[in-house]
């Protein structure tokens, strides 16, 4: 099982890729795709598509984990998030990925044990679990790694149910 978790955004898109084989869990890749806001939106969407398509192919991704979006104060940001999620759905279908979606509350609950945890609390636990990523990067990738972990634990509990 190779799981890609993405925290999409039109300027910064954090991601993490985790492989699980038996009891072995390994962080294969993580980072943040940065897209200049001076580029046209259609170009950024194409960049986003090509970047994650390459990750899926080269890292042999089998599962995709996303957080369900909620409508905040800015409807335009919500719509732009929709553009990127549409691209991820397209990639999930094209590359035959299993898709997991979790509410922000589920992700926080899974990672910190508390559904109302703050962004900082999530980031601190992510840094404890993956000290390699370094605190500078944590901000950009912690949400993506949190949702990736959530997908990993979900799969684990499905496996346990099957036994």
């Amino acid at each position: 099982m190779i799981l890609l978790g993405v925290d999409p955004g039109c300027r910064f898109a954090g991601f993490g890729v985790i492989r699980k084989e038996g009891t072995l869990v390994q962080l294969l890749d993580h980072g943040c795709l940065r897209m200049s806001p001076s580029k046209p939106l259609s170009e950024r969407i194409a960049l986003f598509h090509d970047f994650f398509q390459t990750k899926i192919i080269t890292l042999h991704v089998t599962h995709l984990a996303l957080e369900t979006p909620f409508l905040g104060k800015n409807a335009q940001n919500f719509l732009k998030l929709g553009y990127l999620r549409g691209v991820l759905y397209l990639l999930a279908h094209k590359h035959n990925l299993n898709l997991y979606e979790f509410s922000p509350r589920e992700v926080k609950q899974a990672v910190t044990g508390f559904g109302g945890a703050s962004k900082d609390q999530v980031a601190r636990i992510i840094l404890q679990l993956f000290p390699r990523i370094g605190s500078v990067e944590t901000e950009d990738v912690s949400d993506a790694l949190a949702v990736t972990l959530c997908g990993l634990w979900k799969e684990k509990s499905i496996e346990q149910l099957r036994r």
Copy 2:
């Protein structure tokens, strides 16, 4: 100039394709892509992508016209519209299409001469302009044909400005 106009939706997606060569204007294709709501969303998004990619390639489309979305009562529908628009942005970039976007008011104004026109008024004018499409189909394709025409007229006024 070959212009594709799309009125995206996760169940019905109306479209029109119009060619303009000098003073000659021809309706090349029109219709409605129907997607069963029983299919998973990612499959419908992939269907939508493949359908319009085929149209763009086979009809040698050069321009894409869309209506700007507005947040209605249902945030989930708005988000789903975002998924499909993301796919259209991706196709526009991949196939090097010129992208036009118009507000619903601009489209109604261009077609009926009145920005506050009803859906029915728009449909009646579309049927007068394209009697071939038949009144049964008008409902599904009239919004798409209205935005296609809007793109056509926009290009015409740009051309006139250049002279």
